[in-house]
């Protein structure tokens, strides 16, 4: 499997350059204040979480250029300034504080990692500016921070959708659940288990693994010995891909349902058509280059420009940037007014989905189910599951 490494390397160098450029902000931001609008973005650009962070970085770069090609925001050129959170909560908080102090921007983009966003949440309150974040963990919304708007489906929605697929579509009587041992994995797995039991179906397996684990055969063999009829894996990218590979190696031929973290190009590129043959995937939205609409156009341009396929984790940041443009042009740069604009968003159509803000500031309320065309690694759309 030959893969081009160039774009990744360039991306990393760009990230390094962005980080280096940050050092000069104090002198440049004021000078450019009249005709340039600087907006901060704190996402993981290096380290183990950068696989997803790269998508946010790319999609926001694309949004910046597309918005500027359409006249910028209220006549000002948009300049998105990136700061690296790495895999550290402390670094994420410091990056947010520094960008907020340096830029004094009316809006910021935050990470997709719940623990980083939880750590940053008190600083968002102090800054009193609206932010868009994409972590799925319920813990953030439980803080009821009026400034934080979630642009991805929360983990509870994903758990409900997996349960619907498991019980309604696949008619499972003996499901088994494997999940990554953290707030995301446990949250989704608990939801699935609870909904299964409520429907009178007792899972025959409920096992976890650590982020750095490389061999999940003990858990999978346990499922096999208990005759599980569907295996659910709640995972991230490469760990999820490893599980899909090991399921095949262990001769488990029952359907496998994977959470959205596994359904990103970076993970799917690691798998063969044979390994994907029994896989159903939850995905935030179906972003495919074959689509003949704004979504397909975004996906094709993204792939051409960055050399990697677009995914819905990144595309929701693209949408949020366009929402910001509309919000600032309608409500102005006052943070309170901008926040109120985001709070009343209804049926706003982006390339990823249609967004409506609910009482918990969640803006995304559906996920898509996909599987793979036989003998290929091409994704096929099954249906959208809207969850209230």
């Amino acid at each position: 499997m030959v893969q081009q490494l160039g774009p990744t390397r360039r991306a990393t160098l760009r990230a390094a350059a962005a980080a280096a450029g940050l050092a000069t902000l104090g002198t440049t931001s004021r000078a450019e204040a009249e005709d340039t609008l600087q907006i901060g973005c704190v996402v993981p650009l290096t380290g183990p979480l950068s696989t997803s962070g790269q998508q946010y970085h790319f999609s926001l770069q694309m949004a910046q250029d597309d918005i500027n090609a359409k006249g910028g925001i209220a006549g000002r050129k948009l300049d998105i300034v990136f700061a690296d959170t790495r895999e550290s909560n402390a670094v994420a908080v410091n990056a947010f504080v520094k960008l907020n102090t340096d830029l004094k921007a009316p809006f910021m983009f935050l990470s997709s990692y719940t623990t980083q966003n939880l750590a940053t949440e008190p600083e968002v309150s102090k800054a009193a500016i609206p932010v868009a974040y994409s972590g799925g963990g319920d813990a953030v919304q439980e803080r009821k921070n009026r400034w934080m708007f979630r642009i991805r489906p929360n983990d509870g929605i994903q758990g409900q959708a997996i349960s619907q697929l498991l019980l309604d579509d696949l008619k499972s009587k003996k499901p088994a659940i494997l999940y990554i041992q953290n707030d995301f994995g446990q949250g989704v797995a608990n939801t699935v288990e609870k909904l299964c039991r409520a429907a009178g179906v007792d899972p025959v397996g409920f096992e976890s693994y650590g982020l750095n684990d490389k061999d999940m055969s003990a858990q999978l063999l346990g499922f096999k010995s208990r005759s599980a009829d569907v295996v659910v894996t709640v995972s991230y990218g490469s760990d999820g891909a490893l599980i899909v590979k090991q399921v095949k190696q262990l001769g488990i031929t029952t359907p496998l349902i994977a959470s959205s973290g596994v359904m990103v190009p970076a993970a799917l590129n690691l798998l063969s058509a044979d390994e994907l043959s029994h896989l159903y995937g939850m995905i935030d939205a179906f972003i495919d280059e074959s689509l003949q609409d704004a979504t397909g156009d975004y996906a094709r341009r993204f792939h051409k420009r960055f050399g990697v396929k677009a995914d819905p984790y990144g595309s929701c940041y693209y949408d949020a940037a366009w929402m910001l443009k509309e919000g600032m042009e309608k409500a102005g740069a006052d943070p309170e007014k901008l926040r109120n604009w985001f709070a009343q968003v209804k049926d706003w159509k982006g390339v990823t989905r249609t967004y409506t803000t609910d009482q918990n500031n969640n803006m995304a309320h559906s996920v898509a189910i996909v599987k793979f065309k036989p003998g290929t690694t091409d994704m096929a759309f099954v249906r959208t599951l809207a969850v209230s």
Partner: protein, 291 residues
Amino acid sequence: MGHVLQLAVNGLALGSVYGLVALGFILVSEATGVVNFATGQFVMVGCFFGVTTVMQVGLPIWPGYGAALALMLAFGLAFYALVYRPLQDASTVSVIIGTVGAGIVLQNLALLVWGSLPLRPVSPFGDAQLSLGGATLAMQSVFTIAVTFLLIGAVHTLLYHAPLGAKMRAVAQDREAARLMAIPVNAVLMATWLIAAVLTGVAGLLLGPLWFADVSMGDPIALKAFAAAIIGGFGSVAGALLGGVAVGLAEIFGASYVTSTYKDALVFLLMILFLLLRPQGIFGERISQRG
């Protein structure tokens, strides 16, 4: 029974991986008296050299592996010259900290060179599997077990039955005395780093097709391998294998019969028990017994 056999086979395969990486720890420790905390990054670099030679340059797999190991020799030489040599007369703690720092630098350099996305190196055996009395195992895992046993034997022979091995152990025990005995200390130390680089490079090449190539892959593997080296005995080559298998079996059976959530805790509990009750490990000798 078939289930237990499958678990045992998987534990053996996993343990042999840890044992192979533990060998890298033990070889350096035996010759230099320090623990190389960049061992995990050595494994990662070996894996990515294979990615470069086979996947990017497009060499056939076996010549590609050969080229990757040649690159590991150059890497070992560079590590010796740039990291170990400047620190070799400093205190043990300084050298250890030097290896920790070098490991961090290596990981960041790898990120720049190969990027953050994981890759799937090809296996010489494709998806082939071996059936063994109701248990199945990927041929890549079988190959890894076989290579581990082979290398354990080779390193044992080198250290305990070859002149170079005797010199390496002499240098580790008392560098000044070795020098007075006309042992070319610097050459022996350099040879140690070259061999360690090749050994860990082999581990990286074997691991890539099993667990994917990822610039962050080194530390988690090295941590378990370190536990394996402590359990087996830091001064023992055979102990690396036994310790590795003990860790692999504890992990697999622990996850299956005790708890999958805390299986790593079981492994490190085992390591702590050894540190408390038998600090020399299963096969290791007390420092006071050396010489």
